[in-house]
């Protein structure tokens, strides 16, 4: 009898295990369901007199409840007989979009994942002809080549973006006798050492980054190098139109020094972003560099009692010469295949309206990149967001030719090369020289075959970007 119960229990465990494994399959089915929805939406849009259905796809889940309420409101109140159907997609959004366009079942409006690729693939349509002068004027300071327009054609407009900061644990700072965030890279190294000395016994360390992937180097380097210098981002010099990774040398040296000092959390080389956040929430990390998504992470995902704050990133000499790179610049676009582009634009007007964007920002769903929204809105309520609000030092940069260059690149990418340097060391000058040679050769190839059209801009000066978002 006992044996039979044992087998029954084991059988149940197996069934549960199998069901758990197959649940992702069920989720994966949802794009198909919405595909047919999109197809019928477009088809029914043809019938005069009926409501025009606009299918809208987005992978954003954090704001889904808010957005659905707003769309319901739009469906009730709009006078153009438009009914928007929003589908919040599961993972693999880029694949779902590719499949939808290949099978002629694309939605009318879609969240843009990679503007340049979507334009090259012919997915999205220019918005210039729909935009009136007032709208063009409203967005003029945030219209950026290759971020939301290509060759002067505007394909999307920004809504929110990520501002980047040094995030630090004030409790650990106090314990180490420190009162404010480091302003220079030397201070960063020194503070990390002090925090580790004071906190190591309890498992707390000075600094961490998600070095499991090259992202662990990318995050601190793009933030610090754009704030320190005035010529470029991601190793690319806009003035000369060439790659020069000496621009990230200072931050690479600082990160390596912290690793050598033992000031980094043990095991950083296998650390992903979420495990890093979990450790920070437990008070085990003194400092790290990341974006404005963090306040909601510590509010909902990893609630913490840690007393933390965000500060501008440290720079080589303590002064922000350029502007801190903001990630963003695009939001939604209209499908080239949509038979209802005019009505889709009406929906976009609603999405970008001052009232909606103001509410979105104030509710803490994202840091707005629309100047009039930043000016009109009151500060969002999410604890900790105050350190991330756009300042005159935050700016959208022009796009770099990094993606096209790395597609043609032979050998290891810079993020991986420099991550390895941070973890195990090496001859940094030699590594940078090799990177410069390889990247510039790949860039020449990408320019020759037309994969990128980004050329040198001798007049570029990152200090002139200051103030474009906020004063």
């Amino acid at each position: 009898m006992v044996k039979q119960w044992g087998y029954a229990a084991l059988g149940a465990t197996l069934v549960i295990g199998l069901t758990a494994c197959s649940s992702s399959g069920n989720e994966g089915a949802s794009p198909d369901a919405s595909n047919s929805g999109a197809a019928s939406a477009s088809a029914s849009g043809q019938n005069a007199g009926e409501k025009t259905k606009i299918a809208y796809w987005t992978p954003d889940r954090h704001d889904a409840v808010f957005m659905q309420a707003k769309i319901d409101e739009f469906n009730k109140t709009n006078t153009d007989n438009i009914e928007v159907e929003m589908t919040v997609m599961a993972d693999n959004y880029p694949d779902a979009v590719d499949i939808a366009f290949a099978s002629k079942q694309a939605p009318d409006v879609l969240r843009i994942n990679n503007l340049e690729t979507y334009v090259k693939k012919g997915y999205i349509t220019p918005l210039n002809s729909y935009m009136d002068d007032a709208t063009k004027e409203r967005f003029s300071s945030v219209l950026i080549e290759n971020k939301n327009m290509i060759g002067g054609e505007i394909y999307s407009l920004p809504n929110t973006g990520q501002t980047w900061r040094l995030i630090y644990n004030k409790d650990l700072f106090a314990k180490a006798g420190l009162t404010e965030a480091p302003k220079t890279l030397d201070e960063l190294v020194e503070y990390a050492k002090k925090i580790t000395e004071a906190g190591k016994a309890e498992g707390a360390y000075g600094f961490a980054s998600n070095f499991k992937s090259s992202s662990g180097f990318w995050r601190p380097s793009i933030t610090v190098s754009t704030a320190s210098g005035t010529t470029g981002a991601e190793g690319y010099n806009f003035q000369t139109g060439q790659f020069d990774f000496n621009s990230v040398k200072d931050i690479a040296l600082a990160l390596r020094q912290m690793k050598e000092d033992g000031s980094m959390l043990p095991g950083v080389e296998s650390l992903d972003m979420d495990p890093l956040r979990a450790q920070f929430a437990q008070g085990k990390i003194g400092m790290y560099i990341n974006h404005s998504g963090e306040p909601s992470v510590y509010k909902d995902q990893f609630p913490t009692t840690v007393n933390w704050a965000a500060a501008p990133p440290p720079t080589a000499d303590g002064t922000i010469h350029g502007a801190i790179n903001v990630v963003g610049g695009w939001y939604v676009g209209i499908s080239n295949d949509s038979p209802n582009k005019e009505k889709a634009w009406k929906f976009l007007e609603y999405l970008y309206s001052l009232d909606l964007q103001k509410e979105y920002y104030e509710n803490g769903y994202g840091v707005s990149l629309i100047p009039d929204v930043i000016e009109a809105a009151s500060s969002p309520s999410t604890p900790g967001i105050e350190g991330f609000l756009p300042t005159k030092y935050d700016a959208l940069y022009p796009d770099t030719p990094l993606t096209a260059t790395e597609a043609a690149l032979e050998g290891t990418k810079y993020g991986d090369v420099l991550t390895k340097y941070v973890v195990v060391g090496g001859d940094l000058d030699k590594l940078i020289e090799d990177l410069n040679t390889r990247y510039n050769a790949a860039l020449a190839k990408a320019r020759a075959d037309g994969t990128t059209k980004i050329e040198a801009d001798p007049d570029f000066d990152a200090s002139k970007l200051q103030g474009a978002l906020a004063q």
């Binding site: 044992g6 043990p266 096209a404 790395e406 290891t412």
Partner: protein, 294 residues
Amino acid sequence: MRKIQPYVFVMPSLLLTLALGVYPILWALRYMFYDYPGYGAATYVGFDNFARLMRDAEYWNSVKNTFIYAGGKLVLTLPISLILAVILNKAFRGRQLLRAIYFLPTIISASVMSIVFFIIFNAYNGMANQFLMKYHLISSPVNWLGADYAMLTTILIAVWGAVGNYMLLFLAGLQGIPNDLYEAASLDGANASQKLFKITIPMLGPVLQMIVMYAITVALKGYESIMVFTGGGPYGKTDVMYLYVFKQFFPISADTASMQRFGYGSAVGFASAVIVGAVTALYFYFSRKMDKIY
């Protein structure tokens, strides 16, 4: 009607094989001579992708890692699963339960398994370190996923996931060995290890040959759990051949956009298939006597 019937039965699987097996292979065979980012026109580049492959240190590093990974996995998995199969082939109370327990890891998704093992092995608060430190087996945390141990840890997890599966295959083989042989050996006074080496292993010959071949190809092609567990890191230390191929088609990048390399990916995929094929062929050549036991 009778003449058509077999074809009707075969047709669904034949069509599926052609559509999902043969067509993608032909596609890849063509595109390995092209440069194609997934949109626009593909550019014919002749053997450029292969020339690039020869210079690609990252790829050859992944090939080296593949052999370390596959070698380690096979050396540990096969003996352990054979011994388990021999033990669980004996009649004793609870053996069905034990068989099920050992087989359980096989049905757990590779991603779930990898995430659980990450929680166990991470350096900062992993259970493995806490356990070893509690019992004073180590004095400071071991960086299981750092450069020195990442491959070893990855292999151990692969072994954990594979032992049950191979145990089951060996069990199936063991059932085919006549009991008379063991009885005769017992009468002659043979001990357990003599029975294992003089009867079980030789009699398993052809089955063993197939299981080892299967294990070699699976180990050389494995990448899913590594992708979740280490992502090939730290800095390429656990990057394996097919993970490298996967990354050409579907770049894994958290921040910067990456372009897909369908042409180069196809070339790398083809080269990797040739390597796996060559190893399997070599194995067949050297193991050809195994099926002549009887």
